[in-house]
Assembly symmetry: C2
Homo-oligomer: 256 residues x 2
Amino acid sequence: MKKPLILVTNDDGITSKGIKVLIEEMSKLGEVFVLAPDSPNSGMGHAITVDTTLHIKKSPIFGEIASFECSGTPADCVKLAKHEFLNGRKIDLVVSGINHGSNSSISVIYSGTMSAAIEGAIEGIPSIGFSLDDFHYDADFEHTRPFLTKIASYVLKNGMPQGTALNVNIPKKQDEEIKGIKFCRQTNGYWHEEFDARKDPHGRPYYWMGGYYVNREAEAEDNDIWALENNYVSIVPCKYDLTDYLALEKISDWDI
Amino acid sequence: MKKPLILVTNDDGITSKGIKVLIEEMSKLGEVFVLAPDSPNSGMGHAITVDTTLHIKKSPIFGEIASFECSGTPADCVKLAKHEFLNGRKIDLVVSGINHGSNSSISVIYSGTMSAAIEGAIEGIPSIGFSLDDFHYDADFEHTRPFLTKIASYVLKNGMPQGTALNVNIPKKQDEEIKGIKFCRQTNGYWHEEFDARKDPHGRPYYWMGGYYVNREAEAEDNDIWALENNYVSIVPCKYDLTDYLALEKISDWDI
């Protein structure tokens, strides 16, 4: 039987720890093709490169595995892989990550990792974004391995609903073993920004974005923040149709 | 009565034609505060600036109107305005645009214009993104004016559903007058990319992203592409909860 073709990308860049672990695990399941940003793209959202050029070169870092690094965004990587580098070949699965930090709740909107997965879904390919709920610079990714293969092989075997990308967040390494997997919805919350205003050596102001997360529904138990806080892997299916159908019903009678 | 406070931003940059028209019209409805990118941010999606500094300076181009230009993305502009520049003041409306080109169908995902509006919705502020369905460099924005004031004043007076941002697309200038406004859903479609591969003067390859739009539902009449093609202004309410609830039902019984 022919091996499935798996496209691997991420937003932390091709030299990051997370993509290495993901490539190693995906290599057990199929033929891996890597096309990832040549530098970190955190917070890149669903940006694409329309007004400037894209530069791509072969990367030697994963040995025998076909690997390319690209000056573009995570969404660019998926587009380039499908339409230029793998032109004509069917991609069986897009996986993105493992992101160094959580993409639960509203972070999915800002996430380069998830934009690559959603781009895969737009292209009609089963797609998964993996993130580790640990921002520590020396975060341990080892405990994520069995979940990567379990979820990816399930999707390769059974498919997934059309137009959906899975947002998978994995709890950080703890003494207690991860309890299992929860299918959930995106938590309603937001980042409250606090800007750190400074002066440059010429006296001109500049800012660093910072802040804290605010959970609008700390009591609910069916969402991704609850799952992570209770040591479960969270899986939220995400769609690219942003239409708010409930709001559409409400505003359709506006006298305008 | 106190004038409403209206935050204006965009993704084409503070010197673009579209934002000038939008500012002129919003000034009729309230007190306008402008914080917009200092350069074009098309295709920026919901990117935010987390790994580098943000630079902001006062801009003189709109005379008496408080105006600032920023090195960041459209979403950054909304965050900066709310949490740093207008700290403590209630923003009554966020408007973004007028984008030079359509943001109908899947383009909403890549749109910097709409990311600013969606950021406003995340912050709990009624928010609208305006786009003109005309990519021509010399596009005429004049005919959009009555629709900007009509829609914005309606929202200022009546509010809008919480957690929603309106994606408003206006047909390009034609001989026939615009027929009216349609409330619709996002058209299911995608961009089929074609990359233009070239060599730089050193012989290294580079690419320009191009392509064409593919409509997956050309027969439907309740979506935004249909509205624009039939000379109606389209309004799609968009939400930031990406959860695919139908898919969630389907995958919740996965044996994993």
